[in-house]
Subunit: 192 residues, 4 copies
C-alpha cells in the first residue's frame, strides 16, 4: 500500500521527465528538410536520454520489488534520485542545442554521475531490509558493482568532454548498452 | 504487480503526450475571432492526434491484458512504442503550424508509421507468452493484420504528402476510423 | 482491473490539465508589486478553472463508481470529455490575458458547454449498465438534470459575454458553487 | 478504492508540480561556465522547492493513511492544498529569477504560508474520522502543532524579506530541515 504510492509518484515523475524532454525539439517555422535536419543533435541527445530514463525506470522497478516497508530513509533516497534525474531534461537540451560541445557534454556526464550516485544511495537505504535474505542481498551487491563501474566511466567522461567530446558520448552509449541488456540477478533471486 | 507499474508508467506518458499537445495551441494576444480562426489548422491537427493517442491507449490497454509476466523484452518493446508516440506532439505541431504543407504531412505519416512499427514490435514481444492459448493467439494475429494494413496505408501517405497532402490527411482520418470502431477479437477471446 | 486503467489515465490527464494552467502565470521580469498585480486577471481565471477541473474530477470519480465493465463506448465517451477538458487551459489563458473581454469569455462559456455535453455523453454511455439497479439509475438521472441546467446556463452566458461579460462570469461562479456543494445522490445510492 | 483515486490524483499533481519547476532552468544559448553560473539562484530556489514538495508528498502520504472513507470535505480540503502547492513553481521561479530580492522572497513566504494553511485545513477535514482512535488523534494533534509553528515562522519571514531576505531564506531552510527529519508519531500510532 505505502509502496504503491512511492511507485506511483516515482512513475509520475519519470513519465513527466521522459516526456517534457521532447519539448526541447522546438517546432521549426519553415516546412523544409533543412529545418528538420538542424534538429538532429537535439534529437540524438533526446534519444539517448530517453533510453537512460527508460533504464532507470526499469532498474527502479526491480529495486523497489525488494522493499518490504517504506521508511523515511527510502523516501528521501528516492527523492534524491528523482532530483538528479529531473535535471536530465536541462543537461540534455543544453548538450543538444550546443551540438555536443565540451562544457555541455561534461555537464551531461556530471548529471549521469549524480544520477548513479542517487541510485547508489537508494540501494544503500534499501539494503538493511535484506539482511535475512542472502540471495537478494547478493543480487543487489552485483547490481551495485555494475553501478560503481558506470560511475567510474562517467568520471572518465568528464575530462574527455573538454578535448574529445565524442569519446565521452561513446562512453554514454556504451554504458547505456550495458544496462539495456538487463541484469537478471534480482529477477532470479526474487523467484527462488 | 509488475504489470501494474508498466501500465501506470505507460498511462502517465500517454496522458502527458495527449495533454502537452494542447500547449501548441498558442494563446493569441488579440481577443478577436480572426485570431481564433488562425488557429484552425493547429486545432484540427491536435484533434486528429488526440484521437490517435486515444486509439493507442485503448489498444495498449487491451494488449497488456494478454501479458502474464513482464520481462525485459516487453519493457523495451513498450519503451520503443512510447518513444515513437512521444514524437507525435512535435510532428502534430509542425503539421498544424505549416497548414498541412507537404514535408510536415510526410513527417506525420512517417511518425504514424514508426508508431505502428513500435506497436507491432510490442505485439511480437508478447506473442511468446500466448503459445498455449490458441484463441488469444488468434485474436492477436487478427489485430496484427489490421496493423500491417495501417502500416501500408501510412507508407502510401508519405509520397502523396508531397503532391496532394489532402489525400494523405484523408488516409490518416480513414485509418483512425477503422481503429476507433473497436476490434472485439481480443475482448471476446479473453472472455472465453 | 480494466476500470483501474481508465481511472488512472483520466486522473493523469486531469492532473496535467490542472497543473499546466499555472504555466500561463508567466513569471514577471521585475520584482515589483505592480508586476504581480498585473497578473490578477490571469490568476482569477486560473482559480476558476482549477475549481471547475476539481469539480469534474470529483464527479468523474463518482460516475465511474457506477461502471461494472469498461467497453469501447465508455472509453470514447471518456476520451471526448477529456478532449473538451483539455481545451480549458487554452480558453482560461485567453480569457485571463484579455482581462475578461467579450470574445474570450464567450469562448470560455462554449468550452464549459462542450465539457458539460461531454459529461452528458459519458453518463449516457454508462446508463445501460444500470438497468437493473433502479436506485443508481435514479441518482444518475438527478445528476443529469443538474447537468442540463448547467448546460443551459452556459448557453445563456455566451450572448451575455459580448455585452456584459461580468454576468457570464458570475454565471460561471454560480454554477461552480452549485456543483462544489456535492451531489450526495450517487454516494447514497451506492451505499444502499 | 475511493482513496486510491484521491491518492493517484494527488500524486499526479505533485509529480507534475515538482517536475515543471525544472522548466524554469532555461537552457542558455552559450556553452560556457558563465552561462551556467548565472543559473545558480534559479537552481538554488528549485532545490529548496523540490525539497518542500517532497516533504508535502511524504506528509500527505502519511496523513491519507488515516482516512477511512473519502467525503466531499476531504476532496475539497485536498484540492485547496493542491491549489496552493500549484503556485510554488511560479513563486519559486520569480524568487530565483530576481536573485532572492525582497518582494519575491516575501511572496514565496506567503505561498509557503498558504500551503501550510491548506495542509491544516486538510488535517481538520480528516480529524472527525478519528474520534474513536485516541492514539491516531494524538499523533495528528502533534503534527498540527508542528504545522502551526511552521506557519508562524513563515509569517515572521514575510516582513524580514523586505529588509534581510537572507534571514527569510534561512528560515525556509530551517523549517525544511525540521520536516525532513520525519515525524514518526503517525507511523507509530498506526502500528499500535
Amino acid at each position: 500500500m505505502t509502496k504503491n504510492r512511492l511507485e506511483a509518484f516515482s512513475d509520475g515523475v519519470l513519465a513527466i521527465i521522459i516526456t517534457i524532454m521532447v519539448l526541447e525539439l522546438k517546432i521549426p517555422h519553415e516546412a523544409s528538410f533543412e529545418a528538420l535536419l538542424k534538429l538532429t543533435p537535439v534529437f540524438i541527445s533526446y534519444l539517448l536520454s530517453f533510453i537512460y530514463i527508460g533504464i532507470y525506470w526499469g532498474n527502479h522497478h526491480h529495486l523497489l520489488h525488494l522493499v518490504h516497508n517504506v521508511n523515511s530513509k527510502i523516501i528521501w533516497g528516492n527523492l534524491s534520485l528523482l532530483f538528479f534525474l529531473s535535471l536530465i531534461p536541462f543537461s540534455t537540451g543544453w548538450m543538444g542545442e550546443n551540438h555536443f560541445s565540451g562544457i555541455p557534454v561534461a555537464l551531461y556526464a556530471v548529471n549521469l554521475l549524480l544520477c548513479s550516485i542517487g541510485f547508489y544511495i537508494l540501494q544503500q537505504c534499501i539494503m538493511p531490509q535484506l539482511v535475512q535474505q542472502p540471495k537478494l542481498l547478493d543480487a543487489l551487491s552485483k547490481q551495485k558493482k555494475k553501478g560503481i563501474l558506470s560511475l567510474l566511466a562517467y568520471l572518465v567522461a568528464i575530462p574527455f568532454a573538454f578535448y574529445w567530446p565524442i569519446i565521452s558520448y561513446l562512453l554514454f552509449i556504451g554504458i547505456a548498452i550495458v544496462w539495456v541488456i538487463p541484469d537478471k540477478n534480482i529477477e532470479q533471486a526474487l523467484k527462488t
